[in-house]
């Protein structure tokens, strides 16, 4: 997700082409073409400029609705609603062919392996989505910087944070305290209390942290971890634009 301002202009984008299955956007105002995944203008008067990334999440609707009860949702366009993707479309997409591969069977990476990609601290790292969902909490590094990936109480949504607590030296270890076997992710009432409740505890201070990355009990109450932007992408696409990426392997 990007801001759509550049050079003092507010831009309106259209899907205008494909570059190895990552789409190109054209802006009405200058006719420049932009690469979706990088936010960079690759042709036209604004060539070389970059859009600014907007912090966003990919969450289950139930969890998001519990976090943002006053939020609003993009309405279906009636004319096209019957053609929208079906519920199992991510499963079906796994079988769709790609024009690039980068398959790496040794690390379990097929072209359509879903992953969470992080570009931060001068490095890029890919976290296979299924592995993160299974592990629930991943403590790792991007470049030299410690990060943590945590799965929400819905068992589907993932957020990434920098593993640093202000005033605490080093990078504290975190533990998951939520008992996922007792979760009721499809019960809106349960989710509503679960999104604000703690699901992690840090070893250094014993504080408890929720899915927003904020301490809700203990010494660090009120402090929040620094969120890190992650995008859900297919391996072939991520690898194409991040040739030096490293990959998290359990």
């Amino acid at each position: 997700m990007w801001t759509r301002e550049s050079g003092g202009l507010v831009l309106t984008f259209h899907l205008a082409g494909i570059n190895n299955q990552n789409f190109l956007m054209r802006d009405d105002q200058t006719g420049s073409y932009w690469q979706q995944i990088t936010g960079e203008a690759v042709s036209g008067p604004l060539r070389g400029r970059r859009l600014t990334l907007v912090a966003s999440d990919e969450l289950s609707f139930g969890l998001w609705a519990a976090e943002e009860p006053g939020g609003t949702v993009l309405k279906s366009v009636p004319k096209y609603a019957s053609d929208y993707e079906k519920k199992d479309w991510e499963v079906r997409m796994k079988k769709a062919r790609t024009v690039l591969s980068f398959a790496d069977p040794a690390r379990g990476l097929e072209p359509r392996t879903l992953l969470l990609g992080v570009q931060a601290f001068g490095a890029s790292r890919a976290f296979p989505y299924d592995a993160v969902i299974q592990e629930k909490l991943v403590l790792d590094r991007v470049g030299e910087e410690p990060v943590l990936l945590v799965v929400g109480p819905d068992g589907e949504s993932v957020r990434v944070f920098r593993d640093r607590i202000p005033g605490i030296s080093g990078h504290p270890a975190f533990y998951r305290t939520l008992d996922d076997k007792q979760s009721h992710p499809h019960d809106p009432a349960w989710l509503k209390q679960a999104v604000a409740a703690p699901l992690l505890m840090d070893e250094a201070t014993g504080s408890e942290w929720n899915f927003q990355g904020c301490a809700v009990s203990g010494k660090e109450t009120g402090l929040c971890l620094e969120p890190i932007e992650a995008i859900k992408d297919y391996w072939f696409d991520w690898r194409n634009y991040n040739p030096k990426t490293t990959v998290y392997v359990r």
Partner: protein, 200 residues
């Protein structure tokens, strides 16, 4: 019998009797019509339209050929295709003007209706390429949601376990269901007075 000349006026032969046949079929031009028109130069087929049409068609078709789904795009050909898109409008305009001016000239010097029609069809084709070059078929193919509307959570027809892209700016939270985004791919939006584009 009419003599035939190329575009520079050089004679290229005689004997194609189209003009004569035409005159025989149309005897209403007066008694001296055949003699008068037979004495006028007749030019060759409108070959001059072929290079114009080729340039116009290439400028139209090359980017479509390169930037089409399910095809590997090499960096050089992609850059070339995008460059063609950028310089295409004046090229197509010049081609269309040349074709129309050429047609105007040809219409005056060519007495044969059949060849005039051929030239008119060629010029029309070039003009059609010019018009089509203003249309991006991908923009039509993916059915953009040009006026996105938002509804409160309770009115949203989204299952709890469906994934959404979520953003919060200036205290305002918007969610974009993935199943919709997988179809429209781009939503131009304003959230908390911040113009943003959600892409998927």
């Amino acid at each position: 019998m009419p003599a035939f000349y190329d575009l520079s006026g050089r004679p290229i032969g005689t004997g194609v009797a189209g003009a004569e046949r035409k005159e025989k079929k149309n005897p209403d031009h007066g008694g001296n019509s055949l003699m008068e028109r037979s004495s006028r130069r007749t030019v060759a087929d409108p070959w001059f339209l072929i290079p114009i049409a080729l340039v116009s068609f290439t400028a139209l078709a090359y980017p479509i050929y390169v930037i089409r789904p399910f095809r590997h795009q090499g960096p050089r050909e992609l850059a070339a295709a995008l460059e063609v898109i950028q310089i295409r409008p004046p090229i197509e305009l010049v081609c269309a003007i040349c074709a129309l001016l050429g047609l105007f000239w040809y219409w005056r010097v060519q007495p044969l209706d059949s060849r005039r029609r051929l030239a008119a069809a060629g010029a029309f084709l070039v003009c059609t390429f010019a018009v089509l070059s203003r249309v991006n078929i991908f923009e039509m193919m993916f059915h953009p949601d040009t006026h996105p509307l938002f509804v409160p959570i309770e009115q949203a027809k989204v299952d709890p376990d469906d994934m959404v892209m979520a953003v919060k700016l200036g205290g305002m939270a918007h969610a974009y269901p993935i199943r919709s985004m997988g179809y429209h791919h781009i939503i131009n939006d304003v959230v908390g007075q911040e113009p943003i584009v959600a892409t998927y």
